[in-house]
Subunit: 362 residues, 2 copies
């Protein structure tokens, strides 16, 4: 059901979030093919699109289900009838523990402190709560150290209302290998090896470990290819972004998400003011260190500064811009930008052909 | 109508956006009193709360209406029956021009290029479109230079379907006077003097100039007190934030907006991971240069780093934190944080007493 009448981009109110349909579909096809060639199941992270229309395309192309970061994302997918989910987050506090047990979705556990209230709530509800042990393979965020995973599994096995499904890791530290693709790929392979090693150790000690799950777009070409890894959870690949381009995980021609904006003021030489600011672009940082996005097809321009609803463009050629000019901005961080919007316009060429809701925001 | 059952903070799912009701009301009362003592009308910026419940409190305390940044904010207020609005933004492009004319809300104009399509649309609709000339008094964003305002007014007067209501400026450059309150106050007074001077010049040339409108929280104690200024448009004051505290415009005891979060992992010494990340706090920068907010009542802790749904706390005392501990984070930039949320919980002490929707986001 699409009540949206196709319209030229010039007729859209600005700013507007745009999804290039052809590029999106191609990205989804390619990641599905990559996961298939690695022999792993693909469970994309929903946070990257927060869009059920995108999620359905991913399912159509072979994704087995989704990874979620928040209860709101889990809820959005469950309400859409999409039930094979992993909530890759420690549910802490009574409200989130209750939600996890009611939803029955596997969650991440990295400590006995996280596990105990969950086990108690599951026991009280007469259920077994599925979980995965989160392993820190280098990001330095949550997750048990690889060498401590077996001891944790042994402790958690004493809680009969919990049901171990496997292990997961998020290799977000690959984002730090800017300008070092060989280093990034080596680190990605190591992630897979470490996690598969933990899984083997757990199984050898008699623990079930069906799922061995890695997850990131920069690691998608390496970690899932390690023998023993069973699942990949990349997310950003649906749209990519300028940070992924800088990292070399995708070329500009793969980027599928832009913000449409207009020049609204050219108050003096050297600067043009556009109507896309922090609330359109997010303040999420560029891995290159500065700026709020790349001006599509205008590489000499710099999106140097932004206030809430204004952007400042500078650089060679800026004085040729006129009030009313339409520009498209490739964001630094697609996941952060999607989260600023309640809807996206789907474009084919210069025509908006559909409008898709964004859901599950805070 | 409030279907929300009061609950202790410990029962809320985290992260959660909290508004301290007593502080909010006090902030609103104080700003209303300040505007009254300056002899100006108060037209708060709606962007700072995007919350109709807050807006109604502001109206109850004497605000004459609201300032908006976006069509979505204008729409939210109009649909709530709040009609005395200024859209402090250049409406550029056919969709926004049409919206402005249909809404009949005064808009900002700083060039003939902005004015002409607006005049044409108003003429076609058989209406006169009200507008204010935006003057740049130092921010260096949009706005005509003060010395060029009269010439612009003369050009625009040739467009009979436009109706000049006055002049407005946003003295956002006051945010740069960190650690220099005397400099900030001097600059704020200068803003008022420059704008009142432009208004006098326009009137002397026969142009109507009923509204002379300044707008910012850091300038609220200075610019509106300049003779000739008629209106103040501060916004951030409803909640304040750590940036306003750093600037000295409010003490910590005035800050009314926090994010409730829980420790979800203490994977190793020296760091605690909480469930408030960039999508709870925004990435908006601290005027002090780093960090994602202040940990309330724990000044030795630093919110050093954040990913999308995770925050990293470091600093003295961090190793005493335990999984499940509840913390409140005072954001860098309240306006940016409100924009990350679809609802806020209103708290009295440690009890959530209401839940208010946030509206008009992109």
């Amino acid at each position: 059901m699409n009540a949206f009448a196709p319209a030229p981009l010039a007729e859209l109110p600005t700013p507007a979030l745009l999804i290039d349909r052809d590029r999106l579909v191609r990205n989804i096809e390619e990641m599905s093919a990559l996961a298939a060639s690695a022999g792993v199941r693909l469970r994309p992270h929903f946070k990257a699109s927060k869009c059920l229309d995108v999620a359905r395309l991913q399912l159509d192309h072979g994704a087995i289900g989704f990874t979620c970061a928040t209860a709101a994302e889990v809820t959005a997918l469950l309400e859409a009838g999409i039930r094979d989910l992993v909530w890759a987050h420690q549910p802490v506090g009574p409200a989130k523990v209750d939600f996890a047990v009611r939803a029955g979705v596997p969650v991440a556990v990295d400590s006995v402190e996280v596990a105990r209230p969950l086990a108690e709530a599951a026991r009280a509800a007469g259920r077994r709560q599925p979980y995965l042990i989160e392993v820190d393979t280098g990001l330095g965020r949550a997750g048990v150290a690889p060498e401590d995973a077996l001891a944790l599994a042994a402790e958690l096995a004493a809680l009969p209302s919990l049901e171990l499904r496997g292990v997961l890791t998020h290799e977000g530290h690959l984002m730090t290998y800017l300008g070092d693709r060989p280093g990034m790929d080596k680190a990605g392979t190591l992630v897979g090896e470490v996690l598969a090693g933990v899984a083997a150790e757990l199984r050898a000690a008699g623990h079930p470990c069906e799922i061995v799950s890695v997850g990131s777009t920069p690691g998608a070409t390496t970690a899932p290819f390690v023998p023993g890894v069973t699942e990949a959870r990349a997310g950003t690949y649906v749209f990519y972004d300028s940070n992924q381009v800088a990292l070399g995980t995708a070329g500009l021609s793969r980027t599928a998400l832009t913000v449409l904006t207009r020049v609204v003021s050219t108050p003096r030489g050297g600067v043009a003011i556009v109507d896309a600011g922090l609330k359109a672009m997010s303040s999420d940082a560029s891995v290159n260190g500065s700026g709020f996005g790349l001006v599509v097809d205008r590489p000499s321009l710099t999106f140097a500064k932004a206030n809430e609803e204004h952007g400042y463009l500078t650089g060679e050629g800026v004085d040729a811009l006129r009030v009313g000019d339409l520009l498209r901005i490739l964001p630094n961080h697609g996941c952060g930008v999607v989260n600023m919007w309640s809807r996206a316009h789907v474009v084919e060429g210069d025509t908006a052909v559909a409008r898709w809701p964004i859901t599950g925001r805070h």
